[in-house]
Amino acid sequence: MDKTHFQLIILGAGPAGLTAGLYAARARMNHLLIEKGAEGGQVLLTDWIDNYPGFPDGISGFELSEKMAAHAKRFELNSMFGNVLSMDLTEPIKRLVLEDGPDLTCDTLIICSGAHPRPLEIPGEKELIGKGVSYCATCDAPFYRNMHVAVVGGGNTAVQEASHLTKFASKVTLIHRRDELRATKILQEKAFANPKLEFIWNSTATKVHGTDGVEALHLRNTDGEESVLKVDGVFVLIGVLPNNEMLPLDLLQADDGGFIPTDIETRTAVPGVMAAGDIRSKEVRQVINAAGEGATAVLAAEQYLTNLS
């Protein structure tokens, strides 16, 4: 790329980044969106999205990603494939260091780097990734036809994906550390009505057992009783960790979890730097609020640029 300076750089092409890209392109800002994989982000891990307005019949995560990308591209989104390794946000001109190619600079930056599934961090888990331990039910469910799998978690993702897994697996056991689910009521109703779905309450997974593949999951309940559940696979869906390895966390005043706090207009502690989507420090991580924050962030960037000039 010849050009290395932009008014606005958007980091990440999930729902927040793609919406920011759409708004930036329509505002005719001199912008660039950088994505290290494919457009969509974590939406690509979701089998079905039933709570994004405008799609009354629901839509697959895959299709929604494609539509969001196509929408931004219709307005001449300027995007590139690249991996940002680090950045310097101490000067008014922000500098991004990429894995390949020259450094890129910008006046404003919108961080939409997103999040990734949180691991259990128990013995055997890491060794058996791809051999029965999975963080993406949408990706791996078809490998468990007529098998017994466990899902660890109790939030929306865990409950929705447990239901999805029952389309393939003969039995799905959901393991949750509390005695009730956190997932939204309609997902709970569906799950409780599903004859293939069983629940183990008040229990945590302590060890994944297996040599060439997952053979069993060791559990401990709140009374301290230990048990072993024989399963062919374990899906770990216990929330997310921030994709923040490229960010100056002290400068951005990251919270204890490594997420980036912002004001209501998505402005971070660094002037001209906004954060939108799952990387933001917040309680609710939904496609709809990620998209909304992406739009807000571009308006905040425009305002910052106006005040500069």
């Binding site: 290290k36 994989g37 494919a38 969509g40 939406v43 690509l44 891990l45 979701t46 995560g61 895959f62 990603s65 494939f81 991996n83 894995e99 990734i129 791809g130 051999k131 029965g132 999975s134 963080y135 993406c136 949408t138 990706c139 791996d140 078809p142 490998f143 468990y144 060439d212 593949g213 696979g233």
Partner: protein, 108 residues
């Protein structure tokens, strides 16, 4: 979706392609797999960078049930590196370019 620029390998020609002295990286994917799509551009870039040194191909696990079963694949994307028909190592998930380079270099 894995990249269109990467050649497909099937159960039928798998042995002949991975049996070569030239190291071969196989990207196991399926059309319904989001992270497989996410890793596509990285695999494509590597195919360019290692052209002539490493053969990079992709296998659709929906169309080719035999090979993924043989290698115990239970998650995608999984990328397995072969040399002279032997498995050298593998990675699972939409890992970064650096991790894939680390994998590929094991056969060079």
């Amino acid at each position: 979706m894995a990249s269109d620029k990467i050649n497909d390998v099937s159960d039928a020609d798998f042995a002949s392609i991975t049996g070569s002295d030239t190291p071969c990286l196989v990207d196991f994917w399926a059309p319904w797999c989001g992270p497989c799509k996410a890793i596509g551009p990285v695999v494509e870039a590597l195919a360019d960078e290692y052209a002539g040194k490493v053969t990079i191909v992709k296998m659709n696990v929906d169309d080719n049930p035999e090979t993924p079963g043989k290698f115990g694949i239970r998650a995608i994307p999984t990328l397995i590196l072969f040399k002279s028909g032997e498995k050298v190592d593998q990675v699972t998930g939409a890992v970064g370019k650096a991790q894939l380079i680390e994998l590929i270099e094991k056969a060079l």
